[in-house]
Amino acid sequence: MRRILVWMAVCVIQALSGGIVLAQDLHAPASVTAGDEMTISTPATGNATFYLVGPGISRRSSITGGETIRLRPDDLRNAGRYMVLLCSGTCQSTAFYVNAATPGSLTFLVHPSRVPVSQPDAISGVALPFDQFHNLVLTPVAVDFHLTSSKALVLSQPASTRNGVAWFRATSGKSAGMLEVTAMLGDLSVRRVVQQVASDPCNLSITGQQVRGGFLVRTVPVRDCAGDAVPDGTIVSFTATGANGKSTVDAPLKHGIAQAQIAASGDTVISVASGVVMGNELHLRNQP
């Protein structure tokens, strides 16, 4: 009976602590480039289970000891930390890193898509290089930013990525129109378009004439302080104050001009505004 108990104790202790000790190490390179293949040598210790765990991959296979495991390029396309385990009774593990390959694409964020003219530091862009497997390239690379308007180069700014990012800031152009913003990295080129629009109306001015039942009020062509035409559709508010009370009309610009017919009688004061910009006042009298 005593012998049986001792035998059972030894078996349990052996089962808990592991019976076989692997005498040799698992070898893998410390790092590899995404999309490359690599080999891992395993110790010659008999049949074992091989595990590969990493970003986008999780594999389990049975191997014979001493076998060289080949990892295909497709297995190692995602940059990150990979873990290799070899289990035969006990488990050994090692880790290696996959780094990004050379840039294969460029992500380019530009803001805003519409900007008033002559605004300092109004336009900004951020470029991030990625390899063909969409891994962020963290080694510094040179990126050139070009701003072009009406096919003329307005600004050229070279930059180098830091922590995988390159960025720029620029003042918007002096005249309305399309501005092309391009980021270039070697043969890679990405283009974005920024629409430069007129700023707030400047020197907002109205004229008026008497018509039946009131006045017809019209603005002169509405422009910003740089002389660019304010876009059609911009709302101009006309306000008439007279004996009957106050009348207002919000009219959009059409071909640069806004007009409205306002019902009024007697002495009337008519003013105009667009957004937070005020224009002149007219003092009119509606003659019967």
Partner: protein, 178 residues
């Protein structure tokens, strides 16, 4: 029952209980990790200064993202990845989960601690780059049986962008060092 047989059965029972206790201790539980700390230092962020409210939201959403990631790779389910992850981060995490479903492998991240440092915040605030020194206990299971457990330190380069109601992780890339 004779006295000897009684002794043998008691000893057998004791040894069996000890073995069962030790085995059960190594089975994967379903409680989930309740210790997940995240710290964020935005003092080095530029060119844009990180707003106080943005900082709070990023902390909250990053913590939630890692909880979701842990749940996804532990229980091999894709649902937790919808929401906190977009783009390439979601793609490789989804591939990880799908691959684990086929192989029967699962991972558990416990005792997580993330020290984040913002290194870039775009002028328009539409992307932020963080460096995460992540410390956690990584356990790997094969068909529910633990095959490995070790504490590790991993350096992640993280790109987050503002979504409709939260900040989302667009890139989560481990690197040997920053």
């Amino acid at each position: 029952m004779t006295r000897q047989a009684r002794c043998a059965s008691h000893a057998f029972f004791a040894l069996f209980s000890l073995a069962a206790f030790l085995c059960c201790g190594s089975l994967p539980g379903r409680a989930g990790d309740s210790t997940l700390s995240v710290q964020l230092d935005t003092s080095r962020a530029g060119p844009r200064v990180v707003e106080s409210l943005t900082r709070q939201r990023i902390l909250r959403d990053y913590r939630f993202a890692w909880r979701s990631l842990s749940e996804a790779v532990e229980f091999n389910t894709l649902n937790p990845l919808n929401g906190p992850f977009v783009g390439d981060a979601k793609r490789w995490l989804s591939e990880t989960v799908t691959s684990q479903q086929k192989s029967g492998i699962s991972q558990r991240y416990t005792h997580q601690s993330h020290e984040l440092g913002a290194v870039f915040y775009a002028p328009e605030g539409d992307v932020i780059e963080l460096h995460d020194t992540a410390r956690y206990e990584l356990e790997i299971f094969d068909a529910g049986k633990a095959v490995d457990s070790q504490p590790i330190v991993v350096h992640y380069v993280v790109l987050m962008t503002p979504g409709s109601d939260r900040w989302v992780i667009r890139q989560l890339q481990a690197v040997p060092q920053f």
